[in-house]
């Protein structure tokens, strides 16, 4: 039996999702005897062969430390590492390579800003503004900061479609507010927030904005200069790259004025026991030996995405989401959580009387990988008055046929619980 039997028919005309799926080795396996249907891409996407090979090649041929050796291997590794910085700069349209800081992921990027920028600028009585749909990683670092500083965490409310209320937001742009931190795309609701407008409004009051782009970069073109965001954070592993590597983009002017986040090797230009002079950007924020193979894998992922074309990916995923949404709403007892006008690649839902955990186990038995739970966004669950959702999230290699497998799986779940 062919494990690819169900990978037929993509939606977007001319977009060969089945063909692209051939590039991803992990997709071609049986799970509980059924062909894997991987719909947990918002948690992490699968990796194409080119990413896996780039990492292997680094360890087999160029393995060495960077920025320090005079030998050939170190030279090659340093060159490869710094070339990826340029690739990331182009990928997000940053003005300068020095504005691209390699970190462990979105979480570390946000913590860096909270600890470095936040501790410098947020004082007692000040406020940090987040939105009602944030991932825990864009809530907790600010809570830690606010706790330490005696400042307040304020929340931009949303409506029951999962759209932020911009009139309410405007009212929260008070003199106490020292930073706005908001998701570009919600990992639970799929909402694409109007971040450009959010940023423009904050800037009118002189308030800088951090955008959590973890769920945006795999699905839409990001131009940090056009957005005019002050910080932009994302993870490699949700955009077909390896785990353990992510990016903090920051405007040079802000990054230069910020104190280091961690101390160690590579981030200094001279050290005596009396005084240390910090290295220039971006190295000031890259203490210690970084995730070199991760950076190189990320470079391969960016190349892969460029080859497929992010606009094509966006169209394809949009079609899949529209199809899945239309089909799932025909079921009785299904409620879609997150029905914003602008959405990307995420379909969260609940089934009447059936707990998501049971749905997840039964779907897993049909070979379908989805995420169930609160998705690290408990305040969103509280807002909708539900303990958890089931979430299907799409990537460039998913097909309409796979959506059909999901729909049959849901029918089976309902049948079992009937």
């Amino acid at each position: 039996m062919s494990t690819t039997a169900n990978r037929v028919g993509s939606v977007a005309v001319g977009f060969d999702a089945v063909g692209f799926s051939q590039d991803f080795p992990a997709l071609h396996q049986l799970v509980h005897g059924k062909p894997l249907v991987y719909l947990d891409n918002a948690a992490t996407s699968q990796k194409p062969r080119s990413v896996i090979d780039a990492i292997t090649r680094f360890y087999e041929e160029d393995c060495s430390n960077i920025h320090r050796g005079v030998h050939l291997l170190s030279e090659r590794a340093t060159k490869a590492y710094e070339e990826v910085r340029l690739a990331v700069q182009q990928f997000i349209h940053a003005a300068r390579p020095a504005e691209v800081i390699f970190v462990r992921g979105t979480t570390e990027a946000i913590n860096l800003v909270a600890q470095s920028y936040g501790r410098t600028h947020v004082k007692t009585g000040d406020a940090v503004l987040v939105s009602a749909m944030e991932h825990h990683s864009n809530i907790v670092p600010w809570q830690i900061l606010c706790e330490e500083k005696g400042s307040k965490l304020r929340v931009i409310p949303m409506n029951d479609r999962g759209e932020l209320l911009l009139e309410e937001y405007e009212k929260l742009l008070t003199p106490e507010t020292k930073l706005v931190a908001v998701a570009h795309v919600s990992n639970v609701l799929g909402t694409v927030n109007p971040v450009k407008q959010i940023i423009r409004m904050a800037h009118e009051y002189g308030i800088p904005v951090l955008v959590d782009g973890a769920q945006a970069v795999p699905h839409l073109q990001v131009d940090v200069q056009d957005l005019d965001c002050d910080f932009y954070a994302f993870s490699g592993h949700k955009m077909y790259g390896p785990t353990g590597i992510g990016i903090l983009y920051g405007k040079k002017r802000l990054l230069e004025a910020m104190p280091p986040y961690q101390g160690g090797g590579d981030m200094i230009s001279s050290v005596t026991f009396e005084k240390t002079t910090y290295n220039s950007l971006p190295h000031k924020f890259e203490a210690g030996t970084p995730n070199i193979s991760g950076v190189i894998g990320l470079g391969a992922a960016i190349k892969y995405l460029a080859r497929v074309g992010l606009d094509n990916v966006a169209t394809h995923e949009h079609d899949l989401l529209a199809y899945a949404t239309e089909q799932i709403t025909r079921f009785s007892g299904v409620r879609v959580i997150g029905t914003a006008q602008a959405k990307a690649a995420v379909l969260s839902f609940v089934l009447d009387g059936i707990h998501p955990h049971d749905i997840g186990t039964i779907l897993d038995h049909e070979g379908i990988a989805v995420r169930t739970g609160h998705h690290c966004a408990q305040p969103v669950m509280q807002f909708f008055g539900i303990p958890a959702t089931t979430r299907a999230s799409f990537a460039l290699y998913n097909t309409e046929a796979e959506v059909d497998v999901l729909l049959r799986g849901i029918a089976k779940v309902q049948e079992m619980f009937a």
């Binding site: 396996q29 049986l30 509980h32 005897g33 009387g353 059936i354 707990h355 998501p356 955990h357 049971d358 186990t361 039964i362 038995h365 169930t372 739970g373 609160h374 408990q378 669950m381 303990p387 958890a388 079992m416 619980f417």
Partner: protein, 154 residues
């Protein structure tokens, strides 16, 4: 590929559906003298177990809360099987149930003692669901170990 012998029906046996749809002892217990909460932060399942303990005997037991079919039916069947048991019998049954769902060598007389609870024998094939099956039991054990006067502090 790994052969897969797990059948979804081994996990979701009919009795589990029955108890999750119509749980027994699913209410608060006004004259409880012990209670404890069990919470699974990974999936949000949350139960409160109420106990009435008189002279080391469980004279009444109930639960409240939200959870999946496995955790809810397990809580329901637990309350049904513990009523009237002494503290040491409860502790013994807890140990047997734990062995059942984690598939550690089941002792010969475990099955007889467990009675209907053996419908949870399929859980050990689903490692990520063990926590669901055992959640209310942990809450019950922590209620059992409380001092009687602690219940009012909540």
């Amino acid at each position: 590929m790994m052969p897969d012998s797990r059948d979804i029906r081994d996990l979701y046996q009919d009795m589990i559906f029955e108890h999750s749809k119509r749980p027994e002892n699913f209410h608060a217990l006004p004259d409880a003298n012990r209670k404890a909460e069990g919470f699974n932060p990974l999936c949000g399942d949350h139960f409160t177990v109420f106990l009435r303990l008189d002279n080391d005997t469980v004279t009444d037991i109930s639960f409240e809360g939200l959870g999946c079919a496995i955790s809810k039916s397990s809580a329901s069947m637990m309350t049904a099987s513990l009523k009237g048991k002494t503290k040491s019998q409860v502790q013994e049954l807890f140990a047997q149930f734990q062995r059942l769902v984690t598939n550690r060598a089941i002792e010969t007389d475990d099955e007889a003692e467990l009675g209907k609870l053996v419908v949870f024998s399929g859980v050990c094939e689903f490692p990520v669901r063990v926590k669901c099956a055992i959640l209310a039991w942990h809450a019950m054990m922590s209620a059992l170990d409380q001092k009687a006067d602690m219940v009012s502090t909540e």
